[in-house]
């Protein structure tokens, strides 16, 4: 009896298993495929990230080095004028033919015949046009230098710089590359003499806009961005926190507050370029603020960052447990006292994190700044937020439009600097969250 039942069961299960097996194989295959799609998707996403970063870094890391040539410069009185003349007449010093000094120095260094104009111009193409400023500043700083001979490290031209960094294919025929055979010979000779060196490119961090790659830097743009970040911080943080406190703690539930809420959610999703149009029409056209000013940029970015800060602050306020409020109210604190003396301090880490993330967003924003005239050739440091300024991402945009190889390298370098700042800000935010976040 029992045997029969057992046989029955095993028979049936055998039969059913036989029938099901076909389905299960197919279904498991589908399952594996589905899972693989997911893994491929994640892999692709991460691969894209690394390709992007690699493409920037591989193009840009060389921008942090700059080739320099050591040239013996004779500050000849024939070219500059005597020190006494210079002291009396600054403009003569400013206008003197400094590139000639560099040329003469190179001729002497490479032992070229000064009559051989081809060789002279080839040698001259090795140093940057920026020598005019470099040597002028030396002379203006110290008039005693006139009449003496000194070894000076001069910036190499961007062509020489790119050639040394291997951006040009030097095996192609001479007419198809920007560096001639004669120049290659000079370069070799300079290297043998130890007069060619690659040094850390401080200029990238200190210079302003320039039409020459070797004297172009992001210094001015960083200052402009810093002004804007300060303005955003000074305006968006208090306004955003005040707005969130009202909406979260005080606001009665009515049409008006509903309207504000819908508004804030919408503003967070409005394309950034629309904020640029707003800034152009309102701040520049109506209020008459100057174009290209860091102040206007800061105001526009403030309006853009507000929704981010408000949303983060409200979340932080909501995370403070109601028991804290009840305790304070129960001990006789007023509503305002409760919020400002008890809830707000507890929400502060969350608010800070949100603010930093909002600032990081604002730092990378380009489109609205283009519209308010920050696409400007600004070579001098802005002294006040009302002076013409430019911003780091806008500088990247302007360089990206330059065709020269050396500028492409600098663009990638500038992007690395920008990404470095962003990474720093986001890591700070993560650190703050880890360190101070409280879970109730």
């Amino acid at each position: 009896m029992t045997d029969a039942t057992a046989n029955d069961i095993s028979d049936r299960s055998e039969a059913t298993r036989g029938r099901r097996d076909i389905g299960i194989k197919r279904r498991y295959a589908a399952e594996r495929r589905f899972k693989a799609y997911g893994m491929i998707a994640i892999g692709l996403g991460i691969a894209f990230l690394f390709i992007l970063l690699w493409s920037v870094v591989s193009k840009g890391y060389t921008a942090f080095w700059q080739t320099e040539i050591r040239v013996p410069i004779t500050f000849s009185e024939e070219v500059i004028g005597t020190a006494e003349e210079g002291a009396a007449n600054q403009s003569k010093l400013m206008m003197a033919n400094y590139p000639q000094l560099a040329r003469d120095g190179l001729i002497q260094l490479l032992e070229i015949d000064p009559e051989n104009s081809e060789a002279v111009s080839a040698a001259n193409g090795l140093v940057s046009q920026g020598v005019r400023m470099e040597l002028r500043d030396m002379v203006l700083n110290d008039l005693q230098v006139i009449g003496t001979t000194e070894d000076v490290w001069l910036y190499a031209s961007s062509d020489l710089d790119s050639a040394l960094k291997g951006s040009y294919d030097l095996s192609v025929e001479e007419s198809r590359r920007p560096i001639s055979d004669l120049q290659l010979e000079f370069i070799e000779r300079l290297e043998e003499m130890g007069a060619l060196e690659q040094n850390f490119n401080w200029g990238l961090f200190t210079f302003g806009a320039s039409s020459r790659a070797e004297t172009a830097g992001v210094g001015v743009a960083i200052i402009g961005s810093a002004y804007m970040m300060l303005i955003v911080l000074a305006l968006a943080l208090p306004i955003g926190v005040a707005a969130s406190i009202y909406l979260e703690e005080f606001a009665p539930k009515n049409r008006f507050t509903d309207l504000i809420e819908v508004n804030i959610n919408n503003l967070a999703a409005v394309p950034s370029i629309v904020f640029g149009i707003l800034g152009l029409a309102v701040f520049i056209n109506w209020f008459g603020l100057p174009r290209s000013a860091a102040l206007v940029g800061g105001l526009v970015l403030t309006l853009m960052t507000l929704p981010t800060i408000i949303i983060a602050t409200r979340a932080a306020l909501r995370a403070v447990p109601p028991s804290i409020r009840w305790a304070a109210l129960g001990l006789g604190a007023s509503k305002t006292q409760t919020v400002f003396q008890h809830v707000l301090p507890l929400a502060a880490p969350g608010i800070l994190t949100g603010t930093i993330i909002g600032l990081a967003q604002a730092l990378g924003e380009t489109a609205p700044l283009l519209l308010i005239g920050m696409v400007a050739f600004v070579a001098d440091y802005p002294e006040t937020p009302l002076d013409a300024a430019t911003a780091l991402p806008v500088q990247i945009y302007m360089w990206a439009n330059e065709a020269e190889r050396a500028f492409q390298e600098r663009t990638s370098g500038a992007i690395m600097i920008l990404l470095g700042f962003l990474a720093l800000m986001n890591l700070t935010a993560i650190f703050l969250r880890r360190r101070f976040e409280r879970r109730w």
């Binding site: 589905f34 394309p271 629309v274 007023s334 990378g364 990404l419």
Partner: protein, 496 residues
């Protein structure tokens, strides 16, 4: 005196008043031997608000009103017919008067004294030029006295403002201080001020929206008075520069269609890249991945969202564009033996793909949130009935999460449409109307940037069209956002 110094004085007056009030509040307790209603810090804040709020409000009003009043006065003082005689409009004439005023102010004092109301304008112009102020040649003799008058007005107004504002601050502080007594309900009053401040701060969001809408509405209305709305919305040619050369007609060709087509096409390519990758990544992370994979993969994907769009634009310009071009050259070389690229470096494909990469984290993190918020019970029920995980996802979770996912996709699409820097660098500026994804097309945002950088003239349709484009873009994205938020709200209620 400059505005910032006035503000500084007001702040200082308030601070001094506040300090005095603080001391007074402490003294009250000692003198009367009973506790005042409010603590000293509230007395201080009370005086502070009396000193700061009225005077700063007055300062703001004055700064806005004074130039307007000045302008009205000067315009009324224009001699009749003289403006028309000189072939000017009122606005132009006022502009010249203003710049003469600027010129006068930039002169050194001894030279300014030589110019009085009877000086002929020809004598004054070289002086201005010498100090770097160029003035239109259409300037007239009668403008000089007006400019002088205008300068006097603004100087007097500034001094009056300084005095009145500082008096207000001091008066406010004094009034507040006089009011301090044990029974003064300082805390309640201060809290009222705080409350009003909070309301003002939260209405800034509304003011921003109103500002966006009105600033664009006014300028677009101006544009549509020059170019018909029909021509703008249904025109198929975009050639705004054409008329600027003065080819007779005022209007160029401002057809929205090619720009809109480019925007939607690039957006569609981007979505075609981002949606499958993002969605599958989200599903894998929500349903399959263990905690370790999740904690590595999720932040890595989110880094993609934190990279500024200008970086993506540069990536498209120097890496992806040339890559597609060379790839297509190789392919056509292999197929036909003719090594010419059929994909242009700036193309719909390039811009779309790179934008798609940028959008992956938006799709994945939005859908991840939605998928994980599907109730556990639905999942367990399906698994318990013997469905595999993928079947559960396909037949149970996705249908349940569909409204949320649709709204996530709508939000992503609105981002794709509003994206600027990638398309500026990678899509090209030629307003083509084509269905070939290998050619360059342009978008609404590119044209806004193009029309609004460089020299602006707020009277020419070439500039104003950007505002019409802006409001079109705003309306499209607004509709997408509002609809998406509406779906999310409805969906949330379903499971909460």
């Amino acid at each position: 005196m400059s505005t910032s110094i006035i503000i500084l004085i007001v702040l200082l007056v308030g601070a001094v008043g506040g300090y005095a009030a603080y001391q007074r509040g402490r003294q009250l307790r000692i003198e009367r031997g009973m506790r005042p209603h409010s603590r000293p810090i509230y007395h201080a804040s009370y005086v502070l608000s009396w000193a700061w709020v009225p005077s700063l409000l007055l300062l703001g009003t004055w700064l806005i009103a004074s130039p307007i009043l000045n302008e009205i006065q000067i315009r009324n003082a224009f001699p009749e017919d003289a403006v028309a005689e000189a072939g000017l409009t009122d606005d132009l004439a006022y502009g010249i008067v203003e710049s003469i005023g600027v010129g006068l102010r930039s002169l050194p004092e001894d030279e300014r004294d030589q110019i009085d109301e009877d000086t002929p304008i020809e004598d004054a112009l070289p002086l201005f030029r010498q100090y770097g102020v160029a003035i239109a040649s259409a300037s007239q003799d009668w403008m000089l006295p007006l400019a002088i008058e205008s300068n006097i007005w603004s100087t007097v107004s500034r001094w009056a403002m300084t005095i009145v504002v500082v008096l207000f601050a001091a008066g406010g502080a004094f009034y507040g201080y006089r009011n301090i007594r044990t029974r003064l309900r300082a805390r309640n009053k201060v809290e009222k001020v705080v409350n009003v401040t909070l309301i003002v701060a939260s209405s800034i969001a509304i003011m921003t929206t109103v500002g966006i809408v009105f600033s664009m509405l006014f300028e677009s209305a101006d544009f549509f008075s020059r170019v018909s709305a029909w021509e703008f919305f249904f025109g198929t040619t975009w050639e705004p520069r054409f008329s600027a050369a003065g080819s007779g007609g005022e209007t160029g060709q401002f057809g929205l269609i090619p720009l809109l087509a480019g925007t939607l096409y690039i957006g569609a390519v981007a979505m075609a890249v981002a949606v499958p990758i993002g969605l599958f990544a989200a599903i894998y992370m929500a349903e399959y991945a263990d905690n370790r994979t999740r904690s590595v993969a999720k932040p890595l994907l989110e880094v993609l969202a934190g990279i500024p769009t200008i970086v993506y634009g540069f990536f498209a310009l120097v890496t992806v564009g040339p890559f597609f071009r060379d790839l297509s050259a190789q392919i056509s070389g292999l197929l036909t033996g003719n090594y010419s690229a059929f994909i242009q470096a700036q193309s719909v494909l390039t811009a779309g793909c790179v934008m798609g990469i940028m959008l992956i984290p938006f799709v994945s993190s939005l859908s991840d949130d939605i998928i994980t918020s599907v109730p556990r019970s639905l999942r367990d029920g399906s698994l318990g009935l013997g469905a595999t995980r993928s079947e559960t996802v396909k037949r149970v979770i996705l249908p349940a999460a569909l409204p949320g996912i649709v709204s996530a996709l709508l939000l992503t699409a609105s981002r794709a449409i509003g994206e600027t820097m990638i398309v500026v660098l990678a899509a090209g500026v030629a307003a083509n109307l084509t269905i070939n994804p290998f050619e360059a097309m342009t978008t609404i945002t590119v044209k806004i940037v193009q029309q609004l950088t460089g020299d602006l003239e707020f009277t020419s349709p070439q500039t104003l069209v950007a505002f019409a484009l802006g409001i079109t873009l705003f309306v499209i994205t607004l509709c997408l956002n509002v609809y998406a938020l509406y779906i999310v709200r409805k969906y949330k209620e379903q499971y909460e």
